[in-house]
């Protein structure tokens, strides 16, 4: 690790698969100790970027440095510093969780330390199944094992590729907790997701990627405050003929006793709930938040210029 070097510095990274430009001219500097969320729809190029850093993909052009070391030339140094939790669940049916962790530790070039292995087994609630066939573990356990494996050599930069896709609420909370703890201990974390709430809960900074291009990199707080909105839906005990006054513009009746009101701030939500309650205790209330997909579409609409410039630059 070179002193003062960024955990990750990506310069002009491009990756083509035949005619597909999976990653196009991406520049990115990750700060020491931050949690960075890479947001984008399926096929945007998130996994490809991670694979290029971890050495699973060979970049078509551009350079990648991990703590100041080139990922191609100094791969032995950079891979030792990286941890990767892959998007897909993979496991070797030959080995038990404990064996898998011990093996991964050795492969990473770290002296076998069963204490560390057992610590991780306990931390990820795999202790009781440590000597079971990995194949017999539940999906959630297998995913926790993947995270444990990625941490066994104490990486300084951890990638979590869609860690919570298809994961139940409890495990999602657990994973967020792990990320928080690692970040507190100084590990830099990059996660990919297409859930804005995940970025909101976890990330210090957010990068939005589409069609292989990094469209925007911004502090989470400013991104969310600019874009936070959603709607409150309330089922009332009474029928209405029109939306009540004092609700935000755009409020509508879904049916005679169902109100749908848009919100943009936490204050809006409080106000909507207050007005609705005056009409009688609602039978059902749900607060929905705009998903990344919607914000994302808006961002593209709002920034045709920057995208246009990219395209022109390409054809030069």
């Amino acid at each position: 690790m070179k002193a003062g070097a960024a955990p990750l510095l990506i310069e002009r990274l491009s990756k083509r698969f035949g005619d597909i430009e999976a990653v196009a001219d991406v520049d990115l500097r990750i700060r020491q100790g931050e949690v960075f969320a890479l947001l984008g729809p399926n096929g945007a190029g998130k996994t490809t970027i991670i694979n290029c850093v971890a050495g699973l993909s060979r970049p078509t052009s551009g350079s990648i440095q991990v703590f100041g070391h080139d990922t191609v030339r100094d791969f032995r140094v950079t891979r030792r510093l990286l941890g990767l939790v892959p998007q897909e669940i993979v496991f070797d049916p030959f080995f038990t969780p404990r064996e898998s962790l011990r093996i991964q530790m050795g492969l990473m070039g770290v002296k076998p330390d069963l204490g560390r292995v057992d610590e991780l087994l306990r931390m990820f609630a795999l202790w009781s199944r440590r000597d079971s066939a990995t194949r017999s573990l539940s999906g959630g356990m297998k995913r926790r094992l993947l995270v444990a494996k990625a941490l066994v050599h104490r990486p300084r930069l951890l990638f979590l590729d869609e860690p919570t896709a298809g994961v139940d609420v409890e495990l999602r909370k657990d994973l967020w907790e792990v990320v928080r703890r690692l970040a507190a201990e100084g590990t830099t974390v990059i996660l990919t997701t297409h859930y804005i709430e995940e970025a909101e809960a976890m990330a210090d900074r957010v990068g939005i990627i589409n069609h292989g291009r990094l469209v925007l990199v911004e502090e989470r707080d400013s991104l969310l405050s600019r874009n936070r909105r959603g709607q409150v839906r309330a089922v009332l005990p009474v029928a209405l003929s029109a939306p009540p006054a004092h609700l935000p513009p755009g409020t509508r009746l879904e049916s005679e006793n169902v109100i749908v009101a848009p919100w943009a701030t936490a204050r809006d939500i409080e106000e909507i709930l207050r007005v609705v309650r005056q009409l009688g205790e609602p039978e059902e209330i749900s607060i929905q938040q705009t998903r990344l997909e919607d914000i994302y579409v808006d961002l593209l609409k709002a920034a045709p210029d920057s995208l246009g410039r990219h395209r022109e630059g390409e054809s030069e």
Partner: protein, 253 residues
């Protein structure tokens, strides 16, 4: 060099084949013993002597070689192919392991399995007819080189293969036929022209005969030539494998 990584990968591969020893060690032992019984004992009663030694002994080196070639090829190819299919190759690809560590670990594990299988087959033959080893050092060196060659070949095939059929085709349609045609059951001198000459284009002929020299001090080719052919084969396959693994071909997208 990532020595810990190399050692771990080697231990992992040994662990893998020992966990299924019934399939990886006992099964080749049984099938070669069957060959040995059928061809050696049954035919041996009629054929009596080849090159001045009992036929039952004459077939042993070729059968040992066949078992070793298959063991080393299967050890690397099935392990790497499975890892490719189920995605766990990722564990190795994200580790700080270069082509050197990768190849040395896989070759060493395969050679261990191959030597183990070869030794067991030989012990069975020993029990049947009490034969010894004429040139122990030559036999050991030669076995190691042949095992490493086919282990490297197994890495190449596993990297290239896209379905299990591709993998299974090699032992069935290449290794076993070439070994049988390489004079396991006969001396090439017994073949009519031009087959005696054509046979000499088969690299496995040199392996069978080298082993026959090592165990029985009999051979259709000189032991030096056999060693030479195997050395060239080993160097070529290892070099090609090293280039392919280092390039990331079909392993790193």
């Amino acid at each position: 060099m990532n020595w810990i990584g190399l050692g771990t990968l080697l231990a992992k591969e040994v662990h893998r084949f020992s966990k299924v020893a019934l399939q990886t060690v006992v099964s080749p032992l049984i099938s070669t013993s069957l060959y040995f019984l059928v061809f050696g004992v049954a035919l041996g009663a009629r054929l009596r002597e080849v090159q001045g030694i009992p036929y039952i002994e004459f077939v042993v080196p070729g059968l040992v070689m066949l078992a070793m070639i298959n063991a080393s090829f299967l050890n690397t190819s099935s392990s790497i192919f499975q890892a490719k299919i189920n995605g766990t190759i990722l564990d190795i690809l994200v580790a700080p392991l270069g082509a050197r560590e990768f190849i040395v670990a896989f070759l060493a594990a395969a050679a261990l399995r191959s030597l183990l299988v070869g030794a067991l087959v030989f012990i069975v033959a020993f029990i049947f007819n009490g034969m010894g080893v004429a040139h122990p050092l030559y036999t050991l060196l030669f076995s190691l080189m042949v095992s490493a060659t086919f282990a490297a070949f197994g890495i190449l095939v596993a990297i290239w293969a896209e379905k299990y059929d591709h993998l299974a085709a090699v032992p069935n349609f290449v290794l076993t036929p070439l070994t049988f045609l390489g004079g396991v059951f006969y001396s090439v001198e017994m073949l009519p022209h031009p087959w005696d000459t054509v046979s000499r284009l088969n690299p496995i002929l040199y392996m069978v005969n080298g082993m026959r020299y090592g165990l029985l001090d009999r051979s259709d080719v000189s032991p030096g030539v056999a060693l030479g052919v195997v050395s060239v084969g080993l160097l070529t396959t290892v070099l090609v494998t090293w280039r392919v693994v280092a390039s990331g071909y079909k392993l790193r997208t």
